[in-house]
Subunit: 397 residues, 2 copies
C-alpha cells in the first residue's frame, strides 16, 4: 500500500506502539482520534458471549448518543471471559479520555487476541501518554498493522468522493483471518470519513453496507466474541452529504467495505484459494445471502476447492440445506465460468481444463436459480486446506 | 460382531450381492424383506434437494399407508440429480414387488453414493431374482456390509426385550461416515422389529428416538440429499407392545439408535477422536441440542480436539453463537472430566496431564449451565484432522 496514494480523511489522527500485550514484539496498541468528535454507528458481534470491550463500547455509544472522540484498540488479548474485563476496559478508556480532555463515553475500547486470560490494564495506561503525543494523520498504516493478529497482510483502503459541496474522504482498516488458538477469527473494522452525515443515515448506510460486505464473508462460520464494525463521520471536510449526494457516497463506502471484507476472506488461515460465490435468482437478497453462507461454510465444498475438484454436487446439496426454498430443477452452476450443472443435472464438461482453471488462486462459483427472483449476493470465503487444520490444531502440542 | 449373539427379529430375511454399481467389487445391492408386511415410520432428509429414491419412498409410504414389504438399497450411486432418477427408482421397485408378489408401493428404494451420475436400473433388475432366491434371516450382517460406502467398519446392533406378552427383538443397521467425493455423508439406517406396534406409536417412537440419537450426531454439519431413517415393525413375534410395555421397548429401541448414531460419529472420515458432548442446564432439550450442534460443528473446536488442545474458549464461543439464550457467567466446562471453565472464566488446571488425557481416542466435553433448566442432551461428533481434508480434497487431482 503506497502511502502517497492514501486519501486521508481530515480530522483524524493515529498512533500505535508496542505495549507488551502480545509476545511477539510488534505494535499491539493503537489509538484513533477524531477532532471534532465523530458521529458513529456500530455493529457488534451477535455472539451471546460478548467480550468486555464490546459491552463497554455498547454502553459508551448509548451514553454518548453515538459520539466518538477516540477508539483504543489492542491486539494479543481479547479481554473476553476475564474476571477483571469490564473494569480494565472502563479504566483504560477513562485514562485515554482524560488525556484527550474528552468524556469517557466518547472513547471506545476494542480488543482481539487470546480469550480467557486477564488483560493487564497497566500495560495500556502506561503507554497512553506517549501514544497521544505521537498522534499523526500519517500513522494510519501503522495502526492498520497494529490491529492484525494472524493476518499475513495489512488491510487498508481509502476512497475520495466528489460531492456537490466538495470532496470527502473515507478510510477503512480491518483485520480478520486469524483463527489461532485460543483466539477466534475476530473481525475488527474501523471506517473513518470526514463527510458530515446525520446519525440516522450513518446507521442505515452501515447496516446496508455490511449486508453487502461483512455479512457476505465467512472463513469458517465461527462468530467471534469481539467482532466490531465501526463507522465514524466527523464532518471535518466541511462537506455534508446532501440528499442528491448520497448515491455517490454510498457507492464509495460500499465498495470500500466490500474490498475490506474480501481481503479478510483472501487471508484465511492456510487458505490457497479465495472463493467468490455469486448467487442470482433468489427470492430476495436475504435468501441469496443464506444460500451463499451455506455454500461458503460447507466443509465439503471448502475441501473440494482446496483439491481443485469440480464437485458441483456438494454445492447443490449445501444450497439444499440452507433453509431457503428453491426448485433444484432450475439450478445452474458455473465453476470458473464453466457450466457444470444445468437444470439441477450434470452439464457435461471437460474435466482437465476445468481442473487446471481451479488451480488459479481465485475460484468463482456461480449459482443461479433460472427464472427465479431478483435476489442476489456476492459472498466471499476461502478453502479448507491441511494447513488450516495444522494451524488450528498444533499450537499446544 | 459375533453372529451367534445377534437377536434376529422374526419375519425378516436379507440378501446382498454385487451388482456392478460401485467400482470396487464388493456387495452394493441389498434387500430387506418382511413377511408379513411391516408397519413403518420414516424420517427423510430435510435437504431441499432430495434424491429420487427418497421422493419415491415418500410416495410409496403415503400410498401404502405406511406398509412395507421390502427395502431395496444400493451403494455406489445416490441416484440424485439424475435425469432418469425417479423412473429408475420406480421401475426397480416394481420389478422387486413383482418378484415378491407385493404391491409396488410396499417396496422402498434407497441409494447412497455418487451424485449427478445416472443409475443404471438394469444392473439392479438383473440381480433381483437371485437376491430374492437368496433371502435368509442369517444374511443381515452381509446386508449391513453392502450398504457401507467409506465406512471403515460394519454398523449393526440388535436387542432382545422381554415384554409382558413375550420376547421381541430389534435389529438395526446403519452407514454414514463417508464424505468422499462426490458423495456426502449420507446416513442410512434401517431398524427392524418383530414387535407389534400401531403406526402412530411407531411414528412417535421414531421421532423421539431420533431426537436422542441421529439428531444428536454430526460429522461436518452437511446434510445429505439421501438421508433415510426407517423403522419397521412386522409383529411376527406375535407379541404386541402393550401400554405397560412401552417403557421397556422404548428403552431398548433408543439405546440401539444411540449406539448406531455413535458408531457413525466414531467412523468419521480421517477422525482420530470420537467426541461426546454432554449439555446440561439448558432451558429445554431442543436448546440443549442446538448448543450441542453448534459446538459439534465448529471447525475451531474440531481442530482443537484433533490437536489435543484444551481450548475451552472456542467451546464457549461456539455455544455463544448457537442462537440459544444463556448466561455465559453461569457456564462450567469440563474436558475429560477436568474443570477448565467455571462461571464463564478460566478454572486453573494443569495442562500436561489434561493434554495427555486428550490423546485418548474418546474425548468428552461437558458443558453445563449451572442453575439453568432441565434441558439436556448427549451429542456425538468427531474431530477434523488433516486426513479429513486430504480425503475430501484429493480425489480427482
Amino acid at each position: 500500500m503506497n502511502q502517497e496514494r492514501l486519501h486521508l480523511p481530515k480530522g483524524y489522527t493515529y498512533a500505535a506502539t508496542y505495549a507488551g500485550i502480545r509476545k511477539k514484539p510488534a505494535d499491539d496498541l493503537a489509538l484513533i482520534v477524531s477532532e471534532p468528535a465523530a458521529a458513529a454507528a456500530a455493529i457488534f458481534t451477535t455472539n451471546r458471549v460478548k467480550a468486555a470491550p464490546v459491552l463497554v463500547s455498547m454502553q459508551h455509544l448509548a451514553a454518548s448518543k453515538g459520539k466518538v472522540r477516540a477508539v483504543m484498540v489492542n491486539a494479543g488479548n481479547a479481554n473476553c471471559a476475564t474476571r477483571t474485563g469490564e473494569a480494565v476496559a472502563s479504566e483504560t478508556s477513562a485514562a485515554c479520555a482524560a488525556l484527550l480532555g474528552a468524556p469517557v463515553e466518547q472513547v471506545l475500547p476494542s480488543s482481539t487476541g487470546v480469550i480467557g486470560m486477564e488483560l493487564d490494564g497497566a500495560k495500556i495506561t502506561a503507554k497512553l501518554p506517549a501514544l497521544v503525543a505521537a498522534l499523526s494523520p500519517a500513522s494510519l498504516p501503522q495502526v492498520a498493522d497494529a490491529i492484525l493478529t494472524t493476518d499475513t497482510f495489512r488491510k487498508l483502503e481509502t476512497r475520495r468522493v466528489k460531492l456537490s459541496g466538495g470532496t470527502v474522504r473515507i478510510a477503512g482498516i480491518t483485520k480478520g483471518a486469524g483463527m489461532i488458538h485460543p483466539n477466534m477469527a475476530t473481525t475488527l473494522s474501523f471506517v473513518m470519513t470526514d463527510a458530515g452525515l446525520p446519525a440516522a443515515s450513518l446507521k442505515r448506510l452501515l447496516r446496508e453496507g455490511a449486508d453487502q460486505s461483512y455479512h457476505c464473508m465467512s472463513i469458517d462460520g465461527d462468530t467471534s466474541t469481539n467482532d466490531t464494525l465501526l463507522l465514524m463521520a466527523n464532518g471535518a471536510s466541511g462537506v455534508k452529504v446532501a440528499k442528491d449526494d448520497e448515491g455517490a457516497f454510498r457507492k464509495a463506502l460500499f465498495s470500500l467495505l466490500r474490498d475490506l471484507a474480501r481481503m479478510i476472506a483472501h487471508d484465511g488461515e492456510g487458505a490457497k484459494h479465495l472463493i467468490t460465490i455469486r448467487i442470482r435468482g433468489a427470492r430476495n437478497d436475504g435468501d441469496a445471502r443464506r444460500l451463499g453462507r451455506a455454500i461458503a461454510n460447507s466443509p465439503l465444498v471448502k475441501t473440494a476447492v482446496a483439491g481443485c475438484d469440480p464437485n458441483w454436487g456438494r454445492i447443490l446439496a449445501a444450497a439444499g440445506y440452507s433453509g431457503v426454498e428453491f426448485n433444484p430443477a432450475k439450478v445452474s452452476i458455473r465453476l470458473q465460468k464453466t457450466l457444470v450443472c444445468r437444470n439441477g443435472l450434470l452439464a457435461p464438461f471437460e474435466e482437465p481444463p476445468l481442473i487446471a482453471k481451479l488451480r488459479e488462486p481465485e475460484v468463482e462459483i456461480d449459482f443461479q436459480i433460472v427464472g427465479g427472483g431478483t435476489g442476489e449476493c456476492t459472498f466471499w470465503t476461502c478453502d479448507f486446506t491441511e494447513d488450516y487444520v495444522k494451524i488450528n490444531a498444533d499450537y499446544r502440542t
